[in-house]
Symmetry: none
DNA sequence: AGGTATTTCATACTTTAGTATGACAACGAC
DNA sequence: GTCGTTGTCATACTAAAGTATGAAATACCT
C-alpha cells in the first residue's frame, strides 16, 4: 500500500515538473487540451491497474507461502508427548481417525475388541473427549494424526 | 474485461464532452493546466485500481466455484453438490464433524434426536460410509466440512 | 392443482461405543 | 526383587449410534 502511494506521488510530481517546463509549448502549440487530458487519463488508468495488480499478486504470494510451511499430514510429536498418549494408544487413535470401528482396528492390529475398547477409553480420557468423534477433532487440531 | 473497457471508454467520453462544453471557461479561468491534469490523473488512477480490484474479485469467485484453488477451511460447493446432500444434511454433517453427539446436534438445531438420526442415516448413505467417523473422514477429503 | 423433494418426528429394533472393574504378563527403573 | 508402566484380555453393564418403516407438513416446480 505504501509503495502505491509513493509511486503515485512520484508520477504526479514528474508530470507536474514536465508541465512546468513545457507549459508554453503545450499551450501555444496545436495540441488540444482534450488530447492531453485523455492521454493522462489513459496512462494513469493503467498505472492504477498495474499497482493494484502488483499488490494483489504480493498478497496472494504471502498467503501461499504462509500455507506452505504448515505442512499437513505431519505429526506434531511435541503435542503428542503433551497428551500423555502411549505408542499403542496413538496407533489406535490414528486408525480411529481413519473412520475404523473398534472391531476393524482390532483386526488390523491382531488384537481383541476388548483391548481396543480399553485403549479407546484411555484415549478419550487423555484427550478430554466424551466421544471418539470429539477425540478425532481434538487430535486433528493438535496435529497428532495425519 | 469487457466491462472494464466499456467503463473506461464511457468515462473518457464524459470527460471529453465536459471539456468540449466548458473549454473556454477552463482556459480563460484561473484554473491551471497542471491542476486539471493532476485531478484527471488522480481520478483515473483510482478508477484503474477499482476496475482491477473488481476483475480480480470476479476471477477469485470463479476460481472458487470452479473448484480450483480452494484453500483450507473452505467448503467445496461443487463437491457438495456431487454428494447430493441437502442443506439440512450438510448442516448436520458439519456439527457431526465437530464431534457432537446426535443429542447435542438436536439441541443446537432445536430438533428431536430422531430427526438427527434420520439425517445421519441419509448422510452415511450419500457419503457411502458405515459409521459417522468414516463419513467425517470422507467429508474432510471432499472438503465439504471446515 | 398435483407431483416431488425436503424436513420433521415417532416407534421398535439391532449394533456399536464406551465404562467399570479386575486380572495377568512383560519390561524397565531403582 | 519390587514397583510403576504398558499392553493385553474378559465380563457385565450402560449409553449412544444406526436401521427400517411409516407418516405428516411444507415448499417448490410446472
Amino acid at each position: 500500500m505504501r509503495s502505491i502511494i509513493i509511486g503515485f506521488g512520484l508520477l504526479i510530481l514528474c508530470l507536474l515538473i514536465l508541465f512546468q517546463i513545457g507549459e508554453v509549448n503545450f499551450i501555444k502549440g496545436n495540441v488540444k487540451l482534450e488530447v492531453i487530458v485523455a492521454i493522462v487519463a489513459f496512462i494513469f488508468f493503467f498505472v492504477g491497474l498495474y499497482f493494484n495488480y502488483q499488490s494483489q499478486k504480493k498478497a496472494a504470494a504471502e498467503k501461499l507461502s504462509s500455507n506452505q510451511f504448515t505442512d499437513e499430514n505431519q505429526i506434531d510429536y511435541d503435542q503428542l508427548k503433551r497428551t500423555g498418549l502411549t505408542q499403542r494408544e496413538h496407533e489406535v487413535l490414528i486408525k480411529m481417525a481413519k473412520g475404523l470401528s473398534n472391531q476393524e482396528i482390532a483386526n488390523e492390529l491382531y488384537l481383541s475388541e476388548s483391548t481396543i475398547k480399553t485403549h479407546v477409553s484411555n484415549i478419550l480420557f487423555k484427550l478430554d473427549a466424551k466421544r471418539r468423534t470429539q477425540a478425532i477433532q481434538a487430535a486433528k487440531q493438535l496435529k497428532i494424526v495425519p
